[in-house]
Symmetry: C2
């Protein structure tokens, strides 16, 4: 069993409830990572409606849960031949922490049937010539679980460059046959783009919607994250993930609050 499978393992309590142990390894600054939580919720949702993969996952973050035991409560909304929809809520200590709506079905592999694909992966230096995702002077536990390498031209460490964009490589332990659920971690694993604007505070996500677009081919993933607008205390982050066959396998956009000035 991979570490990702272990960290997202669910114990079915009943038709509508799953117990989960939020794992300290998939956290940042002591808080479980938002993408990891998304994977836990999507897994419970897919089990509830007996669907193979999440297709679209919309999450509204209410409060950050702690590491440790939590419960996912699910409620099927519609079962369809091609798409089923389910609500899933993460509860901890009698408080709802994350609300999600999930549309689930079956992703396809390969790309023989593509009508259109206009998003080539970013040009990146070889992974050996990229920078570790770990910021200096601060240990991100999440980055012990996955191998994240930042294109040095876009790394905010040690010096932010004023442009809120990041790109790089990403690999999980089981990259030979990656669980598509792990793509939900991939869309939210990079440092906040606003680090480049010297906003280093915690940047809480308010809403994140991820679309999974295909079963990834084995090997390194590539990602690019960019912010279109940061104003009035809010910023967006748009993340795209490509597999080793240059295919877009995940897209996500989030709305988050800009961290306080240091």
């Amino acid at each position: 069993m991979t570490r990702f499978a272990a960290a997202t393992a669910l114990r079915r309590v009943d038709d509508a409830q799953y117990a989960v142990e939020l794992h300290p390894g998939w956290s940042i600054g002591g808080k479980p990572n938002g993408g990891y939580l998304l994977a836990v919720l999507a897994k419970a949702g897919c089990e509830t409606v007996e669907a193979e993969h999440p297709l679209a996952v919309s999450a509204h973050y209410l409060r950050a849960p702690e590491i440790g035991p939590a419960t996912v409560v699910t409620e099927p909304v519609r079962r369809g031949r091609r798409v089923s929809t389910v609500r899933a809520t993460l509860w901890q200590s009698d408080r709802a922490c994350i609300e999600t709506l999930i549309s689930a079905g079956s992703l396809s592999g390969g790309d023989g049937d593509a009508l259109w694909n206009d998003s080539p992966p970013p040009q990146l230096p070889h992974p050996d010539n990229c920078a570790a995702g770990q910021p200096p002077g601060f240990h991100v536990d999440l980055l012990d679980q996955l191998d994240l390498r930042l294109d040095p031209a876009t790394s905010p460490f040690p010096t932010p460059n004023g442009t809120p964009r990041l790109q790089g490589w990403l690999r999980f332990e089981d990259d030979g046959r990656l669980d598509p659920l792990a793509l939900l971690v991939a869309v939210d694993a990079a440092p906040p783009t606003v680090f480049h604007l010297k906003r280093y505070g915690w940047a809480p996500t308010v809403e994140l919607t991820a679309l999974l677009r295909g079963i990834p081919e084995p090997g390194w993933l590539r990602f690019a994250v960019r912010t279109t607008r940061a104003a009035g205390g809010w910023f967006d982050e748009d993340a795209t993930v490509w597999d080793s066959a240059d295919r877009v396998v995940a897209q996500a956009r989030q709305l988050a609050l800009v961290g306080r000035r240091p």
Copy 2:
């Protein structure tokens, strides 16, 4: 009262229920437009949690409602100082048609506080030199309510160009003081991008998430819609809307099913 205000008027039944009359004018092919329905749901959600504006609206479409009476059932999830979250579901004839999660708060106007803004509006011919959005030989009722002009270089009418991108101008009746809710219509008012790939069938949206980013300045809106990937029967549409001050005021992405071949 503007036509948009009339078409989205809610009658409060109780704390958690609003009656609405889905208006024939805001439809395409006899079905209420997805963006119009989003505006109705977001309005009910904001009223429920006493918030001024929707900030992020995630909608999962279960089945297309008909023109006529419908009910929005809301449920507050969290009330916060800066953001409140609420569920809203559109019901018709005892069937749930659309499930949403809405994070709501207050949008700001102007742009004095922008940290970053890297998305300039598209260069477009003057509105007088743009094409009407109405397709030939088919009347879109929605386009009687708003003035949509397509950049001729990106119009799929009369001849698709093979590139699933559209851009143009958009104006509502009350463009002097546009209700920010109308931006939810703006993100889903253009013809499907896949018309350019000769997929003219009905392209049902499965999931659409819209972020509202600011109160629009008076005047024409501009929009750009593009598809990153169409494969396996699915496509995404990413829409950006700018106000007359060149500011991004709405962003949306949807996952939809490709219409059948004609």
